[in-house]
């Protein structure tokens, strides 16, 4: 604000607020006052995010056990992350989880949301929504514990399989080299289906019903309607669902830590868990940090194009 304005309207300024205004007088520029509003947030962000981020990059260039002296190794840690078969496998695990964390919830979410849109009105719809949302508000740790028990040797899954005569298929799902990762994926899908469904449902309710009516007059079937009206109108919501779920897959930690601890072997170890284990149990802080930087870059590389596609020409 410029002082001449204040002077011109000065006679209308109540005494109390004139007093308060004068406190800022010393500061002069309103821009400076504006920056004062940012300082606390920026300080916390700098201290607990930007600084650690810079330190992660710094650690990643050293060999350090976390206690003794560190040794400069340049990009060697990155070379290890990208070539060591174990570490590459760990990164690949995160990408395999995308299938379960993203594809299943978004695909199934689309189907369920369009069904809910048509048949779940009133009380039935409300109850369904509430229940489907439950996995979103409980800690992932709890989801991990519950599912670990469901999928255990004496859990419900095996109980049902035995009951229908499939004794041969029963196993400790989370302890099986072939099935552990898909089993972890199912837990993730369980957590994310509700969120995707309800997000997509909200998007669908914003579509103009007239669009459907005119399509029906043109003789469009349900599938055609879905493809030519529903899907295109939901571009932004689908983009959001994919973004959220892909991040959840790549950066997964809680569920894996609780349900399998990364085992058997490295079958379910994901980057987040490996960073934790390398840094705090393996005492390879440098390598863990290089993996952390790679993970961060992978998330950005996956999420930015999705954002661009989803926002696209709408803006």
């Amino acid at each position: 604000m410029d002082d001449s304005v204040l002077l011109r309207v000065g006679h209308r300024v109540p005494a109390a607020s004139r007093l308060r205004t004068s406190r800022w007088r010393g500061v002069r520029s309103p821009h400076l006052v504006g920056w004062l509003f940012v300082v606390p947030a920026l300080a916390m962000y700098a201290a607990f995010v930007l600084l650690p981020l810079a330190l992660t990059v710094q650690y990643s260039l050293y060999r350090w056990d976390g206690i003794g002296p560190s040794q400069w190794v340049g990009l060697k840690n990155y070379a290890t992350v990208l070539t060591d078969p174990d570490l590459v496998g760990v990164i690949l695990n995160a990408f395999k989880l995308i299938f379960f964390f993203s594809l299943i919830p978004v695909g199934l979410g689309l189907v369920v949301a369009s069904v809910m849109q048509r048949v779940a009105r009133g009380r039935f719809g409300t109850v369904t929504r509430t229940v489907l949302f439950l996995p979103q508000i409980i800690p992932l740790v709890a989801a991990g514990i519950a599912w670990k028990w469901v999928l255990s040797t004496s859990g419900v899954v095996n109980q049902v399989l035995s009951a229908v005569g499939l004794d041969g298929v029963t196993r400790a799902w989370l302890g099986d080299f072939d099935f552990a990762l898909p089993a972890v994926g199912i837990i993730g899908a369980w957590v994310l289906i509700g969120l995707c469904t309800i997000l997509l449902l909200t998007g669908m309710s914003k579509i103009d019903p007239a669009l459907y009516e005119s399509a029906r007059l043109d003789g469009a079937g349900a599938v055609q309607e879905f493809r030519s009206i529903t899907l295109p109108s939901l571009r932004q919501e689908i983009g959001v669902c994919i973004t959220v779920t892909v991040i959840a897959a790549l950066a997964s930690f809680d569920i894996v830590y609780i349900a399998t601890g990364g085992g058997p072997g490295l079958a379910t170890t994901v980057p987040g868990l490996d960073i934790y284990q390398l840094a705090f149990a393996g005492r390879s802080v440098g390598l863990a940090s290089a993996l952390a930087v790679v993970l961060f870059i992978l998330v950005l590389v996956c999420v930015l194009p999705i954002q661009r596609l989803a926002r696209g020409d709408e803006t």
Partner: protein, 274 residues
């Protein structure tokens, strides 16, 4: 919308199946929690002699009141501060349009997709250096910083839509920047602020990684962290583990069922914007 009867029935069957899939783990926990402690339960079965006393045992073993208190303190330490400072920053960037606001905003955005695991190692050394390892502060202070990207982003999105004429009129009447913020914009930002409060509270309550790495004592942790520790100790006693897990979940479930409308809309908006 006119929907054929057969479609209604198949549609509802599909939804019922999905609802059953969603509640299955909870039912399974309950069924196991009611079996005699130290027995090895099998799948889901109604126990012939339900052992409700397992809940009492788990309540004592897990020290529920202390756990609750610790989580509440952490939420109270994180959420009000995070909400206030991010609202101020969002106001400055979105409404005051301070010079340099654009690059500053991009700097905050950089952290929006940062996985917590990415900086947990240096955070450990940082927190240890500050001498707050194994205290609630080890969770509170980093969480405030970690929430800033989302919270500032959220509040900026609100303030950027506020008409500038409003502030100009108030300026003419001699209001300072602080008056403007405190008396005009803060009251109008209430819906955005309350949704942000819900989101940050849920995320704090459920925060696991920071608790696991930075705080060893379960009684100084968040609810999720305490649950993790509890699982570590009682992994072999399934009935007691399940009873404890359900107990630890109860406060969240009760609060959710009471305020489900606000919760769902906050979480939906949260992911739409994020």
């Amino acid at each position: 919308m006119i929907v054929a009867r057969r479609e209604v029935i198949t549609g509802r069957l599909l939804l019922v199946a999905l609802v059953a899939f969603t509640v299955l783990p909870f039912l399974s926990l309950l069924s196991a929690a009611l079996q005699p402690s130290d027995s090895t339960p099998l799948g889901i079965q109604w126990p012939s002699d339900p052992q409700w006393s397992n809940f009492v045992d788990a309540f004592n073993v897990a020290q529920m009141p202390a756990l609750l208190w610790s989580s509440v303190l952490i939420v109270l330490g994180v959420v009000p501060v995070a909400v206030v400072i991010s609202t101020m920053a969002g106001f400055a960037i979105g409404h005051l349009r301070i010079p340099g606001g654009r690059p500053l905003f991009l700097l905050f955005l950089l952290g929006l997709t940062l996985p917590f695991e990415g900086i947990i190692t240096p955070l450990y050394y940082l927190v240890r250096g500050l001498g707050i390892l194994n205290t609630k502060w080890a969770i509170i202070l980093p969480l405030i910083g970690l929430y800033m990207p989302f919270a500032v982003f959220w509040m900026r999105a609100h303030f950027i839509n506020m008409p500038r004429e409003l502030s100009e009129a108030a300026r003419v009447d001699g209001a300072s920047t602080w008056d403007l913020f405190r008396h005009i914009h803060l009251p109008m930002a209430r819906p955005a602020i309350s949704a942000l409060t819900i989101l940050l509270s849920v995320w704090t309550w459920n925060q696991f990684l920071l608790a696991l790495v930075l705080v060893e004592d379960p009684l100084q942790r968040t609810m999720a962290g305490a649950l993790g520790a509890y699982q570590g100790h009682y992994a072999t006693n399934i009935p007691l583990l399940c009873a404890g897990s359900l107990l630890i979940l109860t406060p969240t479930l009760v609060v959710f069922l009471l305020f489900q409308r606000q919760f769902i809309s906050a979480l939906l908006q949260g992911s739409l914007k994020g």
